[in-house]
Amino acid sequence: MSTSQAPLIPAPGDTRRRPLVVMRSVSKMFSSGTLALSDMSLTVEGGEFVSLLGPSGCGKSTALRIIAGLGDVSTGTIDWPSSRINSKGLPEGDISFVFQEPTLMPWQTVFGNVYLPLKLRGVSKSAAREEIMNTLATVGLADFADAYPRELSGGMKMRVSIARALVTKPKLLLMDEPFAALDEITRQKLNDDVLRLWRETGITVIFVTHSVFESAYLSNRIVVMKARPGRVHADFPLKTSMSRDAHYRTSEDYRQACEKVSNMLIDAIGGEEH
């Protein structure tokens, strides 16, 4: 293992490497009678970058929403061993969510949108200003604080959405196919940005995607899911000998990772009863 690998996967004994969220035998039945998740167990440790990958309808978004507390589990439990939980059983302020759409308030400026999570906590605008401007700088939008969402491109709106998710300094960032609607070049840039932020902040990321290439590029662990009912098909780490940057995209390591992930996904889809 090269030295550049060290910050990517925390060594055993690292304080970050503790279970952050533990799903035990979680099932989710919708009121329509559809079983979206069946007996899903998953432990995510601090500092990991986990991709949930699978065909559409495999319940990966449902799993993410359940972890975020958007919807109850039908059976099973979700525990947060290293967080303080509130009355709803959620780790208060420890999780952030990035939706597939930027989900910005059009009547608020970029600044106002990023201020929202702090405003809801009762932080005054003046007290939050420095934090907001710093966060906007990390996503490269420091000059756009006073712009309205409609003045921004799709990629920039997504950056605002990411800045809003990061401004509370959460432990866990949940991303639900965040770049699916963007063009390929913007998507690659944002992938690099997310990797950089992950490396710099030590945040834990659970990333839902249906793209083999995206998951192989970003994650150090991949959970492949199977549909009808949604469940875990395969769960394996992705180790590479080099840091992930522009060079990684053309490397043999990346090609092998893509092949491995792709095979697992084909396996998951092939195993379905049609």
């Binding site: 999780i95 969510f97 059009p106 009547w107 309205y148 409609r150």
Partner: protein, 279 residues
Amino acid sequence: MSDHASAFVPPKTGFFARNRDTLLRTLIPICVVIFLVLLWQFIITVNSIPQYILPGPLAVANSLYNDWGTLSPALWVTTQITMQALALALIGGVGIAIFLVQSKWIETAFYPITVILQVTPIVAIAPLILIYAPTTQVALLICAFLVAFFPILSNMVQGLKSVDHNLLNLYDLYGASRWQTLLYLKLPSSLPYFMTGLRIGGGLALIAAVVAEFAAGSAGAGSGLAFRLLESQYRLNIPRLFAALVLLSLLGVVIFAITSFISWFFLHRWHESSLKREN
């Protein structure tokens, strides 16, 4: 002419050149109105139509000037009733809308009542309201309120229910209270719907104020323009009837202009409806 001549046209300077579009957009309608008024006067004069059938614009202007002492207090009364009714309709419409969307059961239980209030013709319930209301003014106010508040209510209900679901999820995720969600998300998000309700409600408030006064048959010093209209008709003072009509039209135009401006003011920075298409 050289080939290069068309390549670059220097921007024109001077007030008229810069504001050409705006000037034209203002001048053209004004010219059309002036033309129609002149045509009206011309037809009256050529055919020597008597004033008690159709007065000319000059006679109407004359009446506006001479009867201003009678007409202006009536205008003021109608304006007051309209504005008060609109204000009450805004408070009531928004308030009831917020109440209705609190739960599906509340909406199921109470929405039909608001519909019944709306679909019953105001002229039909005006006599009843006149019996119960302490004064005619209050009765007129109630009538105008009942008519104006429904578009505001139904637009507001629609707006409050059209909030982006993911934004609602986001507010839940950050542990927003009911009050915070209403104040920071639902109300701003329904602002475009509210503005539509305001513009429709403003127009309807004036119509209802006039119709209610017809129905109430109020008379005397404290009456509005509708009474002056009827009174002029009974006395065959047709120029004054037209003068009252002109004042009502102007009042309607002013209300429309004010509500449109309010709508533009609050939405132009972010809403699509106030955005120029760039193609």
